[in-house]
Structures are given as structure tokens and as C-alpha cells.
Amino acid sequence: MDLLTIGIILLIILIIVILLLVFWGIYNKIIRHENRIDNAWAQIDVQLKRRADLIPNLMETVKGYMTHERQTLESVTNARAAIMSAKTPQEANNANNMLTGALKTLFAVAESYPDLKASQNFLSLQDELTHTEEKIAYSRQHFNDSVLTYNNAIETFPGNFFARWMGRKTREMLQIPEASREVPKVSF
């Protein structure tokens, strides 16, 4: 074989190697982005559970003070009960939205109870719950960001070919329902 033929063969091998490396990269990228979405989804649930877990403590703290706010207190405990007994994701989602609304009302009502607001216990629970609401919001944001990155990867060239071959479809972002759009805002 002469030099030219050897050169061409080497060039072809080089091109094939480079293409394989590129394919390897794209394939793994799509998998990684997809795993990120699943992780982000699980993270939202972790934060929602954390919020539900704080409720019993909150109830203990406020019930001595807010004795005439039965309806407000009940809507919180009912919402939590609904979360605990939810069987489908849709039920859980609705229950969580109910809780967001109920908490918003509770903290607004608590403003007119100076004794409660002076309680160290209450203040630190309020901090913790506000913090948890922020975490829920940011987890949802991260989920949507992950979906965006993934969708971009599988819709743009050359990822779209891989996606078709791998059987991957675009994912949907979370739509935040109106009720939970306003996070309970507490002034510091």
C-alpha cells in the first residue's frame, strides 16, 4: 500500500473515532439531563413533605392563642390531613395547594395577636415555614429549568436525532395554580 492510501485510511479512522466520541457525549448528555429532571421532581416532594411535617408543631404553638379562629385553624389541619391521605398525585397536588392557601390566611390572622407574635416559638416556626415555602418555590423553579435544558437538548440539532432514536419526548413544565402563586409573605 502506498502512503496516500495509508493516509486516507488513517483519516477515515480518525473521523470515525471523533464521531463516536461526539455521539457518546450527546447520548450521555441527554441521559444526564433527564435524570436531573427526575431528581428535581423528587426534591419538590421532599420540601412539600417537610412543610407538612411542620404543621403539628405550628398547631400546638398557636392554638392556645388563637382560640377564636377555629375555622382558620381547621382549614390548616384539614389540608394536612388531605395531604396525608392523598392517593394520586393530583389529589396530593390539590391538598398542597389547599395548605398553601390555609397557611397564608393563618399568618395574616396571626398579625392581630401580639402575644403570639412575641412568642419565640412562633417566630422561629414562622421563619421555618417561610423558608420551606421558598424552598418549594425554588425546587419547582429548578424542575422547570431542568425541563427547559432537557427539551433544548432533544429539540435542537443534533440531539433531535438521538432523541428520536432513544424514544425520548419533550417534558412538560410545572404550571403553578393561582392559589399557590402568592407565597405567604411575612414581614420581618
Binding site: 428535581a40 426534591q43 423558608h131
Partner: protein, 300 residues
């Protein structure tokens, strides 16, 4: 410009500047080879390992030295301000999809913060007591978002490697200079026949070696500034609230630093260079001018 456009622009700029930096390193190595009369392979074989070893060593010692130099201590959840800081770091790490970094506090009246750590899973964010007391929740969130972006973008790695390259170039240039000084010049190989032209190239090579450390430092500072803009933009993306960081930067502008602690090498990791206030707005500064940063944030 949208936040996303800022992010793309800054990333592109970083890549270009890094390529320039690498070319600079290789040029220095070749220039030295030329001056010493050694073939390029030889000088690369010696120069490259020196550069790599230098970079690896500075990188391994980066974290602990930063923390001790700053005199930082872990944040105390019993203190309400520090508790809020811990909360903000947790929230930003969720937004960024990263494990929560450890939270440290530096006792200082200045408003400042920095991030460090060898990898995102093993990082630290530290804020001054001045920052947590004087910034409100939105502003603190903006600052922490900026620091979290430094971690996410692996800026600690980028900047340490860049510092390493700058150091390596300076080191190599220093060594060569001494060799020339003591050993005399041997010229560019076998081309003595070409006389005059050779000498000019030789002089150019020597001048280049002398100027290289300056060029590399300027390049390092340019990279540092671009990464700062990128961290601003990425941080704004995390919080979806550029105004928070903009206001925090305004407060920093008003704040007169009175006790900068810590080693100068970590200056680029702070949100605002605590040391060289006078040089704040020149090509010699690690951070872009505060006014320009505020302007860009408000245009997002």
C-alpha cells in the same frame, strides 16, 4: 439583553481568553527554547510539567488556606441573622440543583461574601457579619445567588488554574532571565549564517519573555472580570430577581472597607475585591466596576 444572553456572552468570552492564555503559555515555552537554542519539544517537555505541577499544588491547598486566611467560622443557627444566611444558602442550592455548601461567617463590618471549594459537592460559602446585618433578605439572596453561581460554574477551578498558568509563566520567565543573565545568549540554533535577522528575532524573544508575565497577569484579570459578570448573570437567573443583587452592590459601593482580612489570592472569589479599592475600576482589577455591574443587572 435577557439574562440568558448575558450568560452566553460571558461564557464565550471566557473560552476565548483561556485559549489566548494557553497560546501565551506555549509561546513563552517556545520562545525560551529558541533563546536557549533548544528544540521546541525539549522546552515543552520541561515547561509543561512545571506548569502542571504548579497548578495542581496550588489547587490542592486552595480551600483550607482560604478559610484560615479569612478567619472564618461556621455559621451559628442560634443567631437569627446567621440562620437567615443558612436558609438563603439552602434555597439557592435548591435553585441551582447542587448539594448545599457549608456555611461560614467572617466577622467583619464590611459587606462581602466569597465561595470556595474543590468541587460543587464539597464547597463553602462565607459571608461577612457586615453583609448579613446590613443587607435585607432580597439583597442577601442576590449575593448568595452570585456565590452559588461561582460554585456551579466551577470558577474556583477556572481561576486557580488561571492563577497557576500566570504563576508558571512568571516562574519560567524568571528562571530563563537568570540563565540568560549568568550564562550569556546562545542564539537560535544553527542559523548563525543569517546574522542580523537572527539577532532581531532573539531580541524579540527576550522582550517577549520579559513582557509575558505582565500579559498573562492582564489576561488573568480579564478572565476574572468576565467570570464575575457571568456569576452576576447566573445569580440573577437563580433568583429571577436582578434588582436584589443590584441593590446589594449599591450598598457595597457606599460601604467603605475598613478591615480586609485574608490572603490576596482569594480576592477574586469575593463579590467585591476587599483589598484594592483604589484600583477598583481599571484593567488591573479583578472585579468589573460596580457601576457597570449594576447597570447590566438593571438591563436584564
Amino acid at each position: 439583553m435577557l439574562i440568558e444572553d448575558h450568560i452566553r456572552k460571558n461564557k464565550r468570552a471566557t473560552v476565548i481568553i483561556c485559549i489566548f492564555m494557553l497560546l501565551l503559555l506555549f509561546s513563552v515555552i517556545f520562545a525560551i527554547g529558541y533563546v536557549l537554542g533548544a528544540p521546541p519539544i525539549f522546552s515543552t517537555a520541561i515547561g509543561l510539567p512545571i506548569a502542571i505541577a504548579y497548578i495542581l499544588i496550588t489547587y490542592s491547598f486552595s480551600v483550607q488556606s482560604v478559610i484560615s486566611a479569612a478567619g472564618a467560622r461556621p455559621a451559628n443557627p442560634q443567631n437569627r441573622d446567621e440562620k437567615i444566611l443558612i436558609y438563603k444558602v439552602e434555597e439557592m442550592s435548591l435553585a441551582a440543583g447542587l448539594p448545599t455548601p457549608k456555611v461560614y461567617v467572617q466577622d467583619s463590618k464590611d459587606i462581602n461574601a466569597f465561595a470556595t471549594g474543590k468541587k460543587p459537592e464539597d464547597s463553602i460559602i462565607c459571608a461577612t457579619t457586615g453583609a448579613i446585618q446590613q443587607l435585607n433578605k432580597e439583597e442577601l439572596e442576590g449575593v448568595i445567588g452570585h456565590e452559588m453561581s461561582h460554585i456551579k460554574n466551577r470558577d474556583i477551578l477556572v481561576m486557580t488554574v488561571t492563577v497557576g498558568v500566570v504563576g508558571a509563566i512568571a516562574l519560567i520567565a524568571e528562571i530563563v532571565f537568570r540563565m540568560l543573565f549568568w550564562g550569556g545568549i546562545r542564539g537560535g540554533g544553527k542559523s548563525d549564517r543569517r546574522g542580523g535577522g537572527n539577532v532581531i528575532v532573539l531580541i524579540l524573544a527576550i522582550v517577549f519573555i520579559i513582557l509575558a508575565p505582565i500579559f498573562s497577569r492582564l489576561t488573568y484579570l480579564a478572565i476574572s472580570r468576565k467570570r464575575e459578570y457571568l456569576a452576576d448573570a447566573d445569580g440573577a437567573y437563580l433568583t429571577r430577581n436582578p434588582e436584589g443583587l443590584a441593590r446589594a452592590l449599591e450598598k457595597i459601593k457606599e460601604d467603605i472597607p475598613d478591615d480586609p482580612k485574608g490572603s490576596k489570592t482569594v480576592a477574586p472569589l469575593y463579590i467585591s475585591n476587599p483589598f484594592k479599592r483604589a484600583l477598583r475600576d481599571s484593567i488591573w482589577s479583578t472585579h468589573p466596576p460596580l457601576d457597570e455591574r449594576i447597570k447590566r443587572l438593571r438591563s436584564m
